[in-house]
Symmetry: C3
Subunit: 297 residues, 3 copies
């Protein structure tokens, strides 16, 4: 998200908006990317993101090949660089990479001619998530600029938080970050978003709330005492919504821990746009493929 | 199978019969379901069923996406309901679900607009197996009504037994169930099929024998003493076939434990239609896809 | 490779050469194998080989279904024979098999009507690797006959070594095998290639060097003392290349252990054609599919 200009982001969102309709047709498919090869390379398991990318590629008629860590040469000790060069030699048009190491897609992109799409790298970035979140908010609010966006939860370990902060700030929104002190990294304010340890402060006047997934292994690491206490202090409930705008939107990147970071009645309630996020995810990824591989190329 | 009418079952079997020929053409593909998205969601491993569904979908030109439990968000603790709603948001046309919990496909079908196809749920049902078994028998015998059908083995833990009993009884066949007392559940007769603990009694005059797979973990649970004893009492051998009709058909849902529930010479013998079952499986699943997603929809 | 004639090998290589250009088009796809079903059945994990076959099949418009050991009925104890017959009943046009048992593809081919392609069986053979290696060498040298080919490493456990020896010898090349005494099987000379324990002797005057992957589990089996010592005696370095021809080609089947059997500066150096091998792998497999499934069939 750092390297995209405001204009480029708007182009991506506009393209996604125009491609969204394809997924509602009886024949959900256009021939745009026929004969293009997309490799989905997932070093970490992920249902929703991989499925979203795969469906997006197929609705544009691209051929897809899927590689997961458990079946990959990583088992045999090959480096990512060698795996990348090998893939490259097979002339793919795009490589979608999910990797546990921050910067892996960046490195890959320097090594190969194919377009590289970051599908989440370590705790660093998850740009297509930020873009689909913006698409969802813009669709509902008609704009991004000037909105008050609260991001709640484990800021330190969340690539979603990082990409969304950078993206929404760039588009002129006012982002505020909230979470337990153990989950707020030092210096995060330099991304352009103030920090608070009190959810209520972040939610006051919020147009948009992005709830982050709590990862249970953090509890073992003593970053929070128990799921129950986390839910009481940082979980989004009907009561904690009181200070937010009347037409607030609630987003969550999924998968949700119902009853922990988000109460079921909020997840399924009238302000939730969580399933719209998923639908927009397919459209957004179609836009990415289209802009990188389609048309003049 | 409970909810299908006799007429609906006949429509499915007729459709399968007419689609079967496609798989023998040099170009095994028709454009009928072009632009339809089929998600195969298998929480339990299965080669034959998943492959059969995938090939069926592809021969009708549908796009397929495959999700297995090991790569799914289940790892991250998401509920089936949330996974389902997420998939739904990506606008699939059909979701093929294999799940260890009885009723999972039923629940899913209430939650999503997409067609849900049960590819086996716990010990409950495996309707496409029952339908392909009926297709195979009808093809060979010209009818289902009035046939004497023996189902042999672990009735208690078999979704194949349950679906086949309901289906064949509905179509007017006389079904008889046989197995060790530890593997016959109380009250199973209410499905309309008498029970015996003696294989010979079930086989007497049989037109059709459906041999069930014995699951080795049952031995550890003391439901049968050893594979060897099981084979002696309930394994289908050339000798045990003596009482059956001269043109008896032998079916097995696979994968077989040769030498346990079925002797190799029977599995590969002249009465076996086990491989016809597999071929009919593709045709039957093509029919299901065609009827749910094709034509007027 | 034993059963192919010189003329058949030349036909395969010529076909691959003419199909190679498809992968460099903007639309990397021809309709040649539309409506054909290719099953990729991998009992051993493999990124590069499976991906190469899958991309090859898709660029010819075949439908592909992928089965890996972890999701297969092997888990449930079915024999390869039964799995094979079951697959066959689904009318695939080709089955690509990677298996840990030598001879498994050979057995499969006798059982099924579909074309069976050996994607590596145990320590026996890896014919498409040998063919793509020959394609790469012929492309660079203009011929195979009369070339001096050194194969270096763990000859005993390498299906790549075995297939390449047979293939290059058949095409009139002079093959020499080199490796530690613990890794040279008795009687290997009967394949038509002399053996030496000294790398330098094998490299003297070499036109082509095929470096084999060292498998780390061999160290535990005391076939070599340590990676470091192996690298010193048998690892290919800039220094060890001194005796080879000035225009020597260096091949490696991948994945590489950099710093063990091959030094990074050699792997990435001017004589290396390792990435050309990968690109040729796709073309070669397209040729195999085309010749087995295309045209008159």
């Amino acid at each position: 998200m750092e390297s995209l200009s405001v204009g480029e982001i708007e182009l991506i969102l506009d393209t996604a908006e125009s491609l969204k309709e394809i997924s509602t047709r009886p024949i959900k498919k256009v021939p745009t990317l026929r004969g293009k090869t997309v490799v989905h390379f997932f070093y970490e398991p992920s249902t929703r993101t991989r499925t979203s990318f795969e469906i997006a590629a197929k609705r544009l008629s691209a051929d897809t090949v899927s590689i997961s860590a458990s079946t990959s040469s990583m088992v045999k000790g090959e480096t990512l660089v060698d795996t990348a060069k090998n893939l490259e030699a097979m002339n793919p048009d795009a490589i979608v990479l999910r990797h546990s190491a921050a910067g892996a897609p960046h490195m890959l992109a320097r090594l190969v001619d194919a377009s590289v799409i970051n599908a989440g790298d370590g705790m660093h970035a998850h740009p297509t998530q930020a873009l689909l979140d913006m698409l969802t908010v813009r669709e509902k609010k008609g704009r991004l600029s000037g909105l008050r966006v609260a991001i709640i939860g484990d800021i330190a370990h969340s690539r979603v938080a990082r990409s969304n902060t950078v993206a929404f700030v760039k588009m002129g929104a006012h982002v505020i970050l909230a979470g337990p002190p153990t989950m707020i990294p030092k210096g995060i304010e330099t991304l352009g978003a103030p920090v608070t340890y009190h959810t209520q402060e972040a939610l006051k006047g919020a147009d948009v709330i992005i709830v982050l997934r709590i990862q249970k292994e953090r509890q073992q690491a003593f970053l929070f005492p128990s799921e129950r206490e986390y839910a009481q202090c940082y979980g989004l409930t009907t009561e904690s919504l009181v200070g937010a705008k009347d037409d607030v939107l609630i987003l969550h990147p999924g998968p949700m821990n119902r009853g922990v970071e988000i109460a079921p009645e909020v997840a399924d309630g009238p302000y939730s746009v969580i399933l719209e996020q998923v639908a927009n995810g397919v459209a957004l990824r179609m836009a990415i493929f289209y802009l990188l591989l389609g048309g003049a190329r």
